[in-house]
């Protein structure tokens, strides 16, 4: 990142955005409506999960004990790290540091790609041990919620690829597109933070 060393990057992190003039939030408004809608829908799943958990504590706790807590925690840090690089890349792109933006988004993509790989290391031993969504209510929620989340991750990875392409392929990248994709990726992160607490951590 040699071009960073040329001087401080005043607009990374907490400076007013140049997009302020044209909107009151980063990216497209349609993405924000999607994000709020998706958070509401997942919110209903989360509450339903805790409700059914309360109906049969023993079943849920014994099933939960079969999950790989360590992979879950590592995946949380992986997604948080990916989100950090997306946020830094967005700020760099906005500040006109396109080369830095590309590098930061590529690192974000690499971290993001680690998530489904680690998830496979979790799913495969579970399925081999005979655990499926039909095993019991806990595993139904576990597979449906983490599966839906994994679909969001895969779509997010495709979006991150498009962002890298956008930053690489144009002298004047579409910052609104970068911000819109970044917003989606952070939402994927948020959903996992809550899933991790509900499925792996609470007792």
């Amino acid at each position: 990142m040699t071009d960073v060393a040329e001087g401080p990057l005043p607009s990374i992190g907490d400076t007013p955005r140049d997009t302020k003039a044209r909107s009151d939030f980063p990216g497209e408004s349609s993405m924000w409506f999607f994000v709020v809608g998706d958070l509401l829908i997942f919110g209903i799943y989360f509450i339903a999960y805790v409700y059914y958990r309360g109906q049969d504590h023993d079943l849920f706790l014994q099933s939960q004990a079969r999950l790989n807590l360590d992979i879950g925690a590592i995946n949380t840090v992986v997604l948080l790290t990916s989100s950090l690089f997306v946020a830094l890349g967005t700020s760099a792109a906005r500040a006109g540091k396109t080369a830095d933006g590309v590098r930061l988004f590529v690192i974000a993509l690499a971290c993001g790609a680690a998530f489904p790989l680690l998830k496979l290391f979790e799913y495969i031993p579970e399925v081999i041990a005979g655990v499926t969504p039909g095993t019991n209510l806990f595993f139904m929620y576990y597979f449906v919620m983490t599966g839906l989340h994994l679909c969001h991750v895969m779509l997010g990875l495709v979006i991150l690829c498009f962002i890298v392409g956008n930053l690489r392929g144009s002298a004047k990248p579409n910052i609104s597109f970068v911000e819109t994709g970044a917003t989606y990726w952070h939402m994927v992160d948020i959903l996992w933070l809550i899933l991790f607490a509900l499925l792996y951590l609470m007792r």
Partner: protein, 93 residues
């Protein structure tokens, strides 16, 4: 590179990672994994709420967004975790 390491966003990430480790250790230290433990649940859910708010506020830049978006995201967060904790405590044995 130091520009990014010293960035406020990196400090937020360090805090997020730190409290993730705290919640991981809290769950591990919860003793026997097969028993209900309200203390562990409250700690890990509150940590999840704080982490969610940090991501929304700093990474998604909602702190500098329009008022309606700040209110909408904050309302969702407070309502969700209040409901999760209420449903949890109502069903405790």
């Amino acid at each position: 590179m130091t520009t990014y390491i010293r960035n406020p966003l990196t400090i937020v990430w360090a805090l997020l990672t730190l409290i993730t480790v705290v919640s991981w250790l809290t769950a591990r230290g919860g003793g026997a994994e097969h028993v209900v433990n309200a203390t562990v649940t409250v700690v890990v859910l509150l940590i999840a709420a704080v982490k969610t708010q940090l991501v929304i506020w700093h990474f998604m830049e909602v702190r500098s967004a329009a008022l309606w978006l700040r209110v909408a995201t904050m309302s969702w967060l407070v309502a969700l975790f209040a409901l999760l904790l209420s449903v949890y405590f109502l069903a405790l044995p």
